[in-house]
């Protein structure tokens, strides 16, 4: 029992920060992937949100097709597909596994956040957008500071839920051999047959790390949602 504990303590730095002397990995990389994918994915989602309500039928169709495909396919397939295209000199790209992982996670979270944003945009009262344009705002200004803000505010719980979900989904990058938390554990354990009795302890630790971060994230999100609810002008509007 005690030797298991020592083993876990021994490899804990590797799990958290990656192997010394190599690129950062472990939990640090998992968090970096999740943050980049969420932030850039939100950019994709805004583009998709614009596309959903575009005047051109073909843009609407294309955007819906994109969301349908990305949300209908396992992340593992998407990762491999992106890596095959982006890492293949035949198509003129030379992007490594880490880059391919980032691209696929951005596409993936963009599609999910886009679907959330579409629901949010649909719930914006027409009168709100109309009054903004009557008061002389440009189309763009109305979208950014009225419709988008309102939609984000209404869908805040869904967005934070998706953020936490994406944090857990990043574990799939193991398929490309990216050294995140999950694959670090696998490499440590697989390096020696004598480690076999320690598998359960190590995976319990990995699970605990994931759930502690997920719990912290959801606490933070709840706190943020509450503060938004009390201070936001948009919420005052939403209540009318």
């Amino acid at each position: 029992m005690l030797d298991q504990l020592y083993f876990v303590l021994d490899i804990l730095p590797d799990l958290l920060f990656g192997f010394p002397g190599q690129r950062p990995g472990g939990l640090l990389l998992t968090l970096a992937l999740a943050i980049v994918a969420n932030v850039a994915g939100f950019g994709v989602a805004v583009l998709l949100g614009l596309g959903f309500y575009s005047r051109h039928r073909i843009v609407q169709r294309a955007v819906s097709l994109y969301v349908f495909i990305i949300t209908g396919v396992p992340l593992l397939v998407l990762l491999l597909l992106v890596y095959q295209i982006a890492g293949n000199p035949r198509y003129g790209f030379r992007i490594g596994p880490q880059g391919a992982a980032v691209i696929s996670l951005v596409l993936y979270s963009g599609a999910y956040q886009g679907a959330i944003l579409r629901t949010g945009l649909a719930s914006v009262p027409v009168a709100l957008a109309e009054s903004s344009s009557v008061l002389g705002s440009s189309h763009w200004h109305t979208f950014c500071s009225v419709q988008l803000r309102y939609a984000i505010h209404v869908m805040l719980p869904a967005f934070t839920g998706q953020t936490i979900s994406l944090f857990k989904d990043t574990s799939a990058v193991i398929i490309l051999g990216v050294a995140d938390l999950m694959s670090t554990a696998r490499v440590v354990l697989g390096s020696d047959l004598a480690n076999q009795p320690k598998w359960v302890a190590v995976y319990l630790t990995v699970g605990a790390i994931y759930s502690v971060v997920a719990l912290l994230l959801s606490r933070l999100a709840r706190h943020w949602e509450r503060s938004q609810r009390n201070h936001s002008l948009v919420h005052l509007l939403a209540r009318y």
């Binding site: 397939v77 597909l81 095959q84 574990s171 359960v200 699970g207 759930s211």
Partner: protein, 258 residues
């Protein structure tokens, strides 16, 4: 006569491989859908129970299995748990005993323990989500409704079986089906524990033929088709549920008016 020339990667072996994989993915989906619905509704009901112990057990179950990635659960149950035992015990317990041999003969799958472990892991993960969704669905039922039933003399279990359960499921059905489609996609995680489902067979076909793109695109299409099929089936169930409830409503109303 029209002669269709097939591309080189489209061989009988590859087709058989992918067909087996697809079959296994569909079976995985059906089995885990049913098991996680059953477990999820039980755990969700425990979370609403007046019994403090049950409520806490259910709460811990949900928190543990929802905050850990499905991949960690799959690898934990498939690879880590057998490693708790010394090699000879492990072999007889998980890989070479009469039950396993019979199951292998019946299904034709190698390493049946990994299949079972994946089903267990996916069930735990999805049922934790379903429990929460169901609880939220029950939360939308008006308290007056429950009070009315109790006042009219319905027992606690009567309220549960004919009010909370059906209405809770109905209210949470859209979220439930979204989660079940997600569960279908999660079956691809079985590929990482050597179960030859669709994703794993695609990888095998890719490495055998040195062709990646055609197989990946084909698999994308197959997963999309499975997702569409599953959501169609779930929408049929939903329509059935809503229809049944609507007709009971009208019958009840008619009886009341008569």
């Amino acid at each position: 006569m029209l002669k269709v020339s097939l591309p080189l990667w489209w061989t009988a072996d590859a087709v058989a491989l992918l067909a087996h994989g697809l079959l296994l993915t569909v079976l995985f989906t059906l089995v885990t859908t049913v098991t996680s619905l059953v477990v999820g509704l039980i755990i969700g009901s425990w979370r609403l129970s007046t019994n403090t112990v049950l409520r806490h057990i259910a709460g811990i179950f949900v928190e543990v299995h929802r905050n850990v990635p499905a991949l960690v659960l799959v690898i934990f149950w498939a690879f880590a748990v057998p490693n708790l035992f010394p090699p000879d015990v492990r072999k007889t317990l998980f890989f070479a005993n009469p039950v396993i041999t019979r199951l292998t003969a019946a299904t034709g799958l190698p390493l049946i323990y990994y299949v079972v472990a994946t089903i267990v892991a996916l069930t735990l993960n999805t049922s934790a989500y379903i429990a929460e969704i169901f609880r939220a669905g029950v939360g939308t039922i008006a308290q007056e409704h429950v009070d009315a039933a109790r006042t009219l003399g319905a027992s606690r279990s009567g309220v549960y079986w004919s009010l909370l359960l059906p209405q809770g499921v109905r209210a949470s059905f859209p979220a439930l089906s979204a989660r079940l489609v997600h569960n279908m996609k999660n079956t691809s995680l079985a590929a990482l524990v050597a179960v030859p489902e669709l994703f794993r067979s695609t990888e095998t076909a890719m490495s055998l033929s040195f062709q990646a793109m055609p197989f990946l695109l084909l698999t994308t299409g197959l997963y999309l088709a499975t997702a569409v099929g599953l959501s169609w089936m779930l929408s049929l169930v939903e329509r059935r549920l809503n229809h049944r409830s609507a007709s009971t409503w009208t019958t009840a109303a008619a009886t009341n008016n008569a």
